[in-house]
């Protein structure tokens, strides 16, 4: 396949009267890692949910691995493209152990050697065998997030849609997950679409990124420009500035720009 692995053109999603995504256009090439950043509530998760087939009611054009999402999704696509949810609770059944969560995924997709795969994937996300038979409420926030990543990885997808995969993680586990994703890209040519509010994570892992605000993509840029702090849009500049840490004086400035912007 030569075209982009993920292609989105003029995507618009409405919930009732409100527009969550407003004519978004971007594409991600094979093996590329693309970041989606921006304001809270600007439609990032909604874009991922459309690509994962969880939202049906939208306009525009979108395709994943060459499959037009307006048509019937082949079963193979479900395995090839995996979504890791922002909220680990949404993907983990509260009454199922880690083993059962992963075991059921393996069974649905008829994976061979499920036992070995479960053990290996847990190790890959930094969870030892002692966590395998725990329930979600017996895990810390970061441990639950790692189970959610493991659940996607066990299917060995070629496309990963990640929604804030490291926001609940401490920086050391975050480093492990980022290194793991980098390794999987090198080994398997994995294509990544990564939603995050952490610009440093984007700078570390992605080649390009799009910045969203109020449903729109306000800027698409190379990560290199992000690293040099040379965005085109004022909003992106604010994001970069605020990334440097908390500064009470900044808050007033941002508030002001939000009123005028």
């Amino acid at each position: 396949m030569t075209g982009p692995v993920i292609s989105v053109r003029d995507l618009t999603v409405r919930f009732g009267a409100s527009v969550a995504v407003d004519s978004a256009t971007f594409s991600v090439g094979k093996g590329e890692s693309f970041g989606l950043v921006g304001e809270s509530g600007s439609g990032k998760t909604t874009v991922l949910r459309v690509l994962a087939g969880l939202i049906r009611d939208w306009t525009g054009a979108a395709s994943v691995a060459g499959h037009d999402l307006k048509r019937q999704r082949p079963r193979s696509l479900a395995r090839m493209a995996q979504l890791v949810f922002q909220d680990p609770y949404a993907s983990l059944h509260p009454l199922h152990t880690v083993d059962r969560v992963l075991g059921e995924v393996a069974a649905i997709h008829r994976l061979d050697n499920p036992n070995e795969r479960i053990e290996a994937v847990l190790l890959a996300v930094g969870l030892g065998p002692e966590f395998r038979f725990r329930f979600p409420h017996q895990l810390s926030g970061g441990q639950r997030q790692r189970v959610a990543v493991a659940r996607a990885l066990i299917l060995e997808p070629t496309i990963l849609l990640l929604d804030e995969p490291t926001s609940a993680l401490d920086v050391s586990v975050q480093a492990e997950i980022l290194n793991l994703l980098r390794r999987l890209r090198a080994e398997r040519g994995l294509t990544l679409l990564l939603v995050t509010h952490n610009l440093a994570v984007v700078a570390n892992l992605c080649e390009r990124l799009a910045v969203m605000r109020r449903g729109r993509i306000v800027e698409t840029m190379d990560a290199e420009r992000l690293r040099r702090a040379e965005p085109e849009q004022a909003y992106t500049r604010q994001l970069i500035l605020a990334s440097r840490g908390y500064d009470r004086a900044n808050a007033a400035e941002i508030a002001f720009e939000t009123e005028v912007g």
Partner: protein
């Protein structure tokens, strides 16, 4: 410290699981005033459980013990359930790490905030609604009226966090425990929401325990930082001096941070030394 708001001595949290015992918090002691106290440390180091132990919300079969657990002169260990619930609703608030898990899925978010407020005040329904909408606007929720009528699954991750923050700020607590309160917020909204909390500390004298894995944020936002590892506090320092922390564990965490201006490449990960577990 003479005007301590909260004093904890030798706090332990244990779980007796069928197969083994998990000793999650192992002798935590600290004292704080009306300041911004950060708690950092790796996943599973006992940060959330320390917060939950303070508000008396460690789930069964968890067992909490301490030689001292005192809030503003009140011994939290001896309070009965009702008194404790009253205290924690009104004077101590905790923003939980998983906002959507803490919200009732079948009630609109506006109603939930307003009802939580009315439990602890004599406000009328109309007053509670007004206060709720004002607070949603204060935490930078666009279109508060629309969001009032949404169910938890209809709000974005960052909106859920801000809804929890609004809910906890309305009663104007004396102590706020915020567990990763802004991890789902973009950085500009994060700055604005933290400014509200910051002002409550500096103007109203609220005490804040700020649990976060975002070391840069903690260093720039808090006054003091506790570093936890394996259920213990391994280092305490001024937040502004976090980058000069001494403990090899803290240094390892700092090294693992990605940087916005650094080229892509593997990040150093922590190599844990078993000796860290045994240290005081």
């Amino acid at each position: 410290m003479t005007d301590a708001l909260l004093t904890i001595e030798d706090l332990h949290v244990r779980f007796d699981l069928p197969t083994r015992q998990v000793h999650a918090v192992r002798g935590v002691s600290f004292s704080m005033g009306r300041e911004k106290l950060g708690i950092v440390g790796e996943s599973g180091s006992g940060k959330s459980l320390t917060g939950r132990a303070i508000i008396g919300q460690v789930a069964k079969p968890g067992v909490v013990t301490a030689t001292r657990l005192e809030f503003d002169g009140i011994d939290l260990r001896t309070l009965d359930k009702a008194a404790r619930r009253k205290l924690t609703g009104r004077r101590i608030g905790m923003i939980m790490q998983d906002p959507k898990f803490s919200l009732n899925p079948v009630m609109t978010v506006g109603k939930q905030i307003a009802e939580a407020y009315r439990v602890h005040s004599n406000a009328s329904a109309a007053e509670a609604k007004k206060r709720t909408l004002d607070m949603l606007a204060a935490v930078r929720i666009r279109e508060p009226e629309r969001v009032w009528g949404l169910y938890p699954h209809e709000v974005s991750g960052g909106m859920g966090q801000r809804i929890m923050i609004a809910m906890m700020l309305i009663p104007e607590p004396d102590l706020l425990i915020a567990d990763e309160p802004t991890s789902a917020l973009d950085v500009t909204v994060q700055t604005q929401v933290l400014a509200i909390i910051d002002d409550l500390v500096s103007q109203r004298g609220m005490g804040l325990i700020f649990i976060s894995h975002d070391l840069n944020l903690v260093a720039s936002f808090c006054d003091r930082v506790l570093v936890m590892y394996g259920g213990r506090i391994v280092e305490t320092c001024r937040a502004s001096e976090l980058d000069r922390a001494q403990h090899p564990y803290t240094r390892g965490l700092l090294a693992a941070l990605p940087r916005i201006d650094a080229p892509p490449g593997d990040l150093p990960v922590l190599r844990r030394d078993p000796a860290w577990m045994g240290e005081p």
